[in-house]
Amino acid sequence: MPENVLRLEDVTMQFGGVVAVNNLSLEVNRGEIVALIGPNGAGKTTAFNCVTGVYEPTNGIIRFNEEQIVANHPRGKMKKLYNGENAKKYVGSKTISPTPDEITKLGIARTFQNIRLWKSMTVFDNVLTAKHMRARHNVFSATLRISYAEEKRMREETEALLAEQNLLQYAGDLAVSLPYGLQRRLEIARALATDPALLLLDEPAAGMNPQETQDLGQFIVQIKDKYNLTVFMIEHHMDLVMQFSDRIYVIDFGKLICEGTPDVVQADPRVINAYLGVG
């Protein structure tokens, strides 16, 4: 029995009349690379945003290491109108709606579809700032340099992390001055700086050519092994998905249409229909 790191149970996210994620259940096991794929507008990023606390799902439960981290139901805080599947299932249970920083503190780090580095900061500071959350200091000890040892430790760790990611030579440059591929890599490095157990990658290979995509795939496997990570990613590059992921979930119009190993998914007629239209 593999150990669940992340489990979504009947997660639904409704915006007005649009059901972006519809009754989605999936699980990610420890040490796996799991991909979430689907056509444009299928609700992949919305599902990510539900996990990371950006959105409050309309219904459903999300567990991290078997512990409920997000929970909501139609009668909950939002009082949203929702009568879809499993609408009554969680009524009466307590709702949990954490903010993104609380989710990150639990050990779930993410990257963004459109790179969101801190523009005015150097490469080094981008990674160093991500270490702020776990540092043991308060505003006075940090300002008056009482916790100087902590600051020094953060800097050393950042330097080590950048060296591992081959980014150390750019440490003093502004993050936005890096070429596109390196910005993606820096965003992953920044996410790693928060000491995650689960890494959510939102289209890490967007805008990359086949060679860069291949390198990125190997890079993901490499950091996964090195930091004992579990990786859950959204991706459109099928070569990356098929070659490097252990299991794949396919969603379309917010609904799960297929799951399984790359071979199973590739052969599934529903997936082909979703991508190419019914022939």
Partner: protein, 376 residues
């Protein structure tokens, strides 16, 4: 990298020490009534409040316009606390009310309490207000500043705040004495010391881990949140710290002016400070300091003649009459904004890198010469 920074730091420290030495010398040699001291004192006070506003607007990305309100709280807290009990009980100041505060404190306690009072208010106001973003935050903070002013002028609070009447007879800059050894600190030096310490704290804060978190929030809130930075807590922290120093600068302003009245802390004052921050460069501490001294020097000193009929030796009472100064001043500001659209300093700091480089080159040259000596 480390060594280069160290040289720069030393040069900066020496430069700051020089400024203080110059202030001490000036104060020993020139008559205290000289306009220069007015400019220096007021400039230092405005530097502090501009830097505190820059911490919010420039480094945390919170466009807040409540600075005058917090200065008012600081000024009044200071005035009420340090006014001698005898004055409070007589009808010198509290003419229409019976003052209900029957104690007084020293200057240092008064200053710190001024900051704390402003910070406490900021923490309360921050709870609802900091959930707003950009322009809405500016409007809300501006509104709260006006409310604070109205409250301090309120008749019912008269026994504490003296209503809308002037506060005076509290401890001003002429009565700053170091306890025990009984040495008088000259007024300008005292303002420079307090403002300098406060600005130093803000600079240290900005360069600490928390400062980086503030900048992260300014650059990209969503990314900051996703990297585990608690938005509300950090915004609140920045707001409270900024208000603390605004409160202290309000108290210094009260000390400098000898009298203080709530109606002077209008939103126009906030705009004045905002102007200094924008001219100096949003996100530049040294820019704010330079701009505030320039601003005060221009408006209080260099352009004074434009109002008095005489300017740069030209005698033209027909043109140079009351109000002309404002006209010229506006043009200067427009020129600055047109040609330095990101402020005098942009988001850079005053840098001594060139000097550091020169020094290092010289030193390495000397070392090379020394090293070469025995061989030759």
């Amino acid at each position: 990298m480390g060594k280069k920074n160290k040289t720069e730091l030393w040069i900066a420290l020496v430069a700051i020490a020089l400024v203080y030495i110059v202030v001490i010398i000036l104060e020993q040699t020139m008559s205290p009534g000289n306009i220069l001291f007015t400019v220096l004192k007021k400039g230092a006070i405005y530097s502090l409040v501009a830097v505190s506003m820059n911490l919010l607007n420039g480094f945390t990305g919170l466009f807040s316009l409540g600075q005058a309100g917090f200065m008012l709280i600081g000024a009044y807290t200071y005035a009420i606390l340090t006014m001698p009990v005898a004055v409070k009980l007589s009808d010198q100041v509290y003419k229409y009310y019976d003052c209900i505060i029957h104690f007084d404190t020293g200057i240092l306690v008064g200053l710190i309490c001024a900051g704390i009072a402003a910070a406490v208010f900021a923490a309360l106001i921050g709870l609802p207000v900091l959930r707003l973003k950009s322009d809405y935050l500016a409007i809300a903070t501006l509104g709260f500043a006006e409310i604070i002013r109205a409250i301090f002028q309120w008749n019912t609070l008269g026994p504490v705040t003296n209503g809308a009447n002037v506060m005076r007879e509290y401890k001003d800059l002429t009565s700053v004495v170091i306890p025990i050894i009984n040495v008088r600190i000259p007024p300008t030096l005292f303002v420079f010391i307090v403002a300098g310490l406060c600005i130093a704290f803000i600079v240290l804060l900005i360069n600490s881990s928390y400062g980086r978190a503030f900048k992260a929030i300014r650059d990209d809130e969503i990314a900051a949140e996703a990297m585990g930075i608690n938005l509300f807590r950090h915004k609140q922290m920045s707001f409270v710290i900024s208000s603390f120093f605004a409160g202290i600068s309000g108290a210094l302003l009260a000390m400098f002016q000898y009298t203080v009245v709530a109606s002077q802390f209008k939103s126009a004052m906030t705009y004045e400070i905002l102007l200094i921050v924008v001219i100096g460069g949003i996100g530049s501490i040294s820019g704010s300091c330079i701009a505030s001294f320039l601003y005060i020097a221009l408006s209080e000193w260099w352009l004074r003649g434009l109002d008095m009929g005489k300017f740069l030796g030209i005698d033209a009472p027909g043109i140079f009459r009351s109000g002309f100064r404002r006209f010229i001043f506006s043009i200067i500001i427009m020129v600055i904004v047109l040609f330095f659209s990101r402020g005098l300093m942009g988001d850079k700091e005053l840098s001594f890198r060139w000097l550091a480089k020169k020094l290092r080159r010289k030193r390495s040259g000397e070392a090379a010469a020394k090293g070469g000596g025995p061989n030759a």
